[in-house]
């Protein structure tokens, strides 16, 4: 029996070998095709970003010349003026604070909920899953006025806290759903062992399961961070009376041109590059973990 299996394995191995052993021309073509695909994808993903860099290096008057692949006289004047803009710098700081707090809130609250939804059988589970999803079922604009009165009632209108209170609306549903599917994927034996040892549910959760979810937490945290960092409508509305609480997206949108009645497009592009770079660094640092996190999570809905 064992010998048979071993023989089968050898045969399978040989078959696999012969399957991959194609003639060199074909292999070379395959490689080339693959790299061509990689280049096409990179071009698709990066071209608009490249164009933002391109635009940010032009002066405002150059913008009205026919488009060129590289500006004739690259200039950093737009970056200079972005960095000299106090509103922009304060916006960067505000965005960093709000996004960090939102991520922490979403992760703590979301992992609690996801553990309950992913690991415990109870009445009302499906209802809660859909209630959480329902948070994303209306445009932000539709509930803006209702949210506005709540923000005012809580006494946080015009402060950064107003955004910390409202951003779970954007970050929580996704966090809960992805983490729930992650928890569902963990083997059941872990908990049973813990329960046998007399651990409470909560202990099982934060001593045993939570450490295992670290990669998934990093991933969803990153996605939540990007969502909060990029939010515009709430930030615009709830900080309308308080310029000091504006986030960076609002600050950029309110750049006023040095030239009368003209949008400073190049300057906006420079600022948007500056805003995107921290996110890219975050992604670069965590990219290994992103893959791990979602893999281990076995996103399966």
């Amino acid at each position: 029996m064992t010998q048979n299996t071993a023989a089968a394995n050898v045969q399978a191995g040989a078959a696999a070998e012969s399957g991959t052993r194609k003639n060199p021309m074909q292999m070379w073509l395959g490689r080339a095709g693959f790299w061509l695909l990689v280049i096409v994808i990179l071009f698709f993903l990066m071209f608009p970003f490249y164009w933002a860099i391109n635009t940010s290096l032009m002066t405002e008057t150059e913008l009205f010349n026919p488009a060129r692949i590289w500006p004739d006289n690259p200039t950093t004047i737009n970056y200079d003026s972005a960095f000299r803009n106090d509103d922009f710098l304060r916006g960067l700081r505000n965005s960093a604070i709000v996004s960090t707090v939102s991520v922490l809130l979403a992760l703590v609250v979301g992992s609690f909920a996801a553990y309950a939804l992913g690991r415990i059988k109870f009445k009302g589970r499906m209802l809660m899953l859909y209630a959480v999803l329902a948070m994303t079922m209306f445009p932000q604009i539709s509930i803006l006025s209702g949210l506005f009165s709540i923000v005012r009632d809580l006494g946080v209108y015009g402060s950064l806290s107003s955004l910390m209170v409202t951003y779970p609306l954007l970050t929580l549903p996704f966090t809960v759903w992805v983490l729930t599917s992650f928890f569902e994927g963990l083997p059941a034996e872990l908990e049973q062992a813990a329960l046998v040892d007399g651990a409470t549910s909560f202990q099982t959760f934060y001593r045993i399961l939570l450490p295992l979810t670290a990669p998934a937490l990093v991933t969803t945290g990153l996605l939540a961070f990007i969502a909060a960092w990029n939010e515009y409508l709430f930030a615009l509305t709830f900080t309308a009376v308080a310029p000091e609480a504006r986030t960076v997206t609002v600050a950029i949108a309110q750049f006023s041109g040095r030239v009368m009645r003209q949008e400073p497009i190049a300057e906006v592009m420079a600022a948007s590059i500056v805003v995107t770079v921290p996110l890219l660094i975050l992604v670069l640092v965590f990219q290994q973990r992103i893959a791990e996190g979602l893999t281990a999570g076995a996103v399966k809905g």
Binding site: A15, W51, F138, V165, Y232, T295
Partner: protein, 616 residues
């Protein structure tokens, strides 16, 4: 049950304070009902909607006299120079604007205080407001005068107004919550008294959360102490008292677990733990999602406008019928003199102008505000599509087109990218970072970036490249020509959100074991075959989650349309923005929001049914 009571008879521990604690729970429940009842009955808006108090006003009164707007009493001192004949008209207006104001007019001869008899010159005109004029009740002392008018709105109570007053002041969620707390806590009190172990555990859980809430209450008391006349003590005392009571009961229940009978079931324990962990989510859900949505829904039943002097009126589902008013009519051709259809010189049938034809033939076509949107010619027949709010209907069709096209493209591209990144090659890490670039740029800004790229003429890079390559002769106005608008939006969205799709699909791909593919290789299955019979089926649940989140986002698309198209073409969300911010029509805009919610809900239900998401 009988067995249980037998064993109870043999040994039953002292109940101690249990009756008191049970009674407290029952009292709390009754208190909730009383609270709800007094809250509603003492609310003036709500009472006014039922009682509809009258406001009085008078014209033509002698100098020195005034009418009280609330009681209808005319009082004051007539000046000595006020002699003469006055025609006084008193108007009684109900708070219900649908009721015609009632009027009473009488002449009044001032001059001889002795002969102060005033007689109404006319009966009050017919009006639902009953006005009583009890006559002149002059006091003869000097020139002090007192006349009283009484009126009452006798029309039927306006149910809509009563409902609206209730909804606006209490909403739906809070009354339901208070009511459930009442029912739940009375039930809990009774069950506790019966020594039910499950209830005691749930009670402990509840008390624990109340204790935590109490700590926040105490903190609030500290912060708020400055605003209260009694200072710190008055502000803190109720919270400290409540906290003490809650902690006392909690500790008592924990110490006396032995007096409860039986054992808690595993189901109950699990459910308790689950809800425990879900409490923060539920609070956030209620606070930032359910409450605002509730207010949106309530506003959608009114004709509220921003900065309008008039109180908003209850209009039922009028906003919805206007939004969704859509009809398709068959337009018959012009008849030729010899019967059959008249044709023009090209041989095409001649049709009457749809609008004129429909106004003539369809009753209330114009009254309802229908306007033809589009005409479809099918097998020589003509159908006219008319809508009451054609902007909204075209916003819906734009959005649906946008959603279907962009989400399917994103799925295909996302799958491609995910599969490429999933294979091993040098520089994969960088590729994974590059993959997220479009998604990391704030939407508001990436929309501006695309605005730059899609500009008219040669400054726009797309036009420049296409012109240089000789593919087009004339620059295309991507954002102003209606042929290209939605497609341009699709391009922006596909670029922007494919990374999100790719990331989730990548995760799903990495879970699929390599063994499956190796086995397929052994069997000699082609790569294409492997993709369709292994990858796709195994990826289905992941695709489901990705599709749900992407579709929900696409249906709600806002930033891209707002920045790039403004008022030239709407998505549902930008149409909502337009009615709200520019049109100031709060009630109508709220109805738009609710309709979008329902459309998205339908999408979600469809996905769940088709893809079986969320089922274990």
């Amino acid at each position: 049950m009988a067995n249980v009571s037998n064993t109870q008879a043999s040994y039953r521990p002292e109940a101690g304070a249990l009756p008191f604690i049970s009674a407290l729970f029952v009292l709390l429940g009754i208190g909730a009902f009383i609270f709800l009842f007094t809250l509603v009955t003492s609310d003036t808006d709500f009472q006014n909607a039922i009682d509809r108090p009258i406001t009085y006003s008078a014209s033509g009164l002698p100098a020195g006299l005034n009418i009280s707007p609330t009681s209808g009493d005319i009082t004051g001192v007539i000046g000595s120079d006020a002699t003469g004949v006055y025609t006084v008209v008193v108007t009684a207006t109900s708070t219900d604007p649908n009721t015609t104001p009632g009027q009473v007019a009488f002449t009044w001869t001032v001059g001889d205080p002795e002969d102060g008899e005033a007689d109404p010159v006319s009966e009050p005109p017919p009006s639902p407001i009953e006005v009583e004029f009890p006559g002149n009740q002059f006091s003869d002392e000097g020139e002090r005068v007192s006349v009283s008018i009484e009126a009452q709105d006798t029309s039927d109570v306006n149910i809509g107004a009563v409902l609206l007053a209730f909804l606006r002041n209490f909403g739906i969620i809070v009354p339901v919550l208070v009511f459930s707390v009442g029912v739940y806590s009375i039930r809990m009190g009774i069950k506790l008294f019966q020594r039910d172990i499950v209830t005691s555990m749930w009670a402990r859980q509840l008390l624990l959360w109340l204790a935590i809430a109490g700590i926040f209450g105490i903190l609030y008391g500290f912060v708020n102490a400055g605003n209260i006349a009694g200072g710190l003590i008055v502000s803190l005392l109720p919270w400290v008292f409540l906290e003490g009571l809650v902690l006392f009961i909690l500790i008592w229940l924990m110490r006396n677990e032995h007096i409860f009978e039986g054992q808690e079931t595993l189901t109950s324990r699990n459910t308790r733990n689950a809800w425990n962990l879900l409490i923060p989510t539920v609070i956030i859900l209620l606070l930032v999602a359910a409450r605002p949505l509730e207010q949106t829904f309530i506003a959608s039943l009114t004709d509220q406008r921003f900065a309008a002097a008039r109180e908003p009126q209850f209009v039922g589902f009028d906003n919805y019928t206007e939004l969704l008013g859509l009809r398709i009519d068959h337009i018959p051709c012009e008849e030729a003199s010899g019967g059959g259809c008249a044709v023009d010189e090209d041989g095409d049938r001649i049709f009457p102008r749809s609008r004129n034809y429909l106004i003539e033939t369809v009753e209330s076509y114009r009254d309802w505000g229908y306007r033809p949107m589009n005409e479809i010619n099918l097998f020589g027949a003509r159908w006219a599509i008319s809508a009451r709010d054609s902007d909204f209907i075209s916003a819906v069709s734009n959005t649906l087109l946008f959603t279907v096209v962009s989400v399917s493209l994103e799925l295909v591209f996302g799958l491609f990218i995910a599969m490429v990144v999933n294979s091993k090659f040098p520089g994969r890490g960088l590729m994974r970072t590059a993959m997220l670039v479009p998604w990391a740029i704030p939407t508001v800004i990436s929309a501006r970036l695309w605005e730059v790229m899609l500009r008219d003429g040669r400054p726009g890079v797309f036009n420049q490249v296409l012109l240089e390559l000789g593919i087009i002769d004339q620059p295309i106005s991507w954002l102003t020509s209606s042929d290209w608008q939605v497609l341009a939006m699709v391009a922006v969205d596909v670029w922007k959100t494919t990374p999100f799709m790719a990331l989730i699909l990548l995760a799903g791909l990495q879970v699929i074991s390599r063994d499956v593919y190796e086995a397929a290789d052994v069997d000699g299955a082609s790569k294409v075959r492997q993709f369709f019979s292994i990858t796709l089926p195994l990826l289905r649940p992941t695709i489901g989650v990705a599709l749900v989140f992407r579709t929900l986002d696409a249906v709600r698309v806002f930033d891209v349309f707002q920045v790039l198209l403004g008022e030239r073409a709407f998505s549902m969300a930008t149409y909502n923005y337009n009615t709200l911010i520019l049109g100031q029509e709060f009630g109508y805009a709220s109805a738009v929001g609710v309709v979008i919610f329902v459309i998205i809900l339908l999408f979600t239900v469809a996905y769940v049914r088709i893809l079986g998401i969320g089922e274990r």
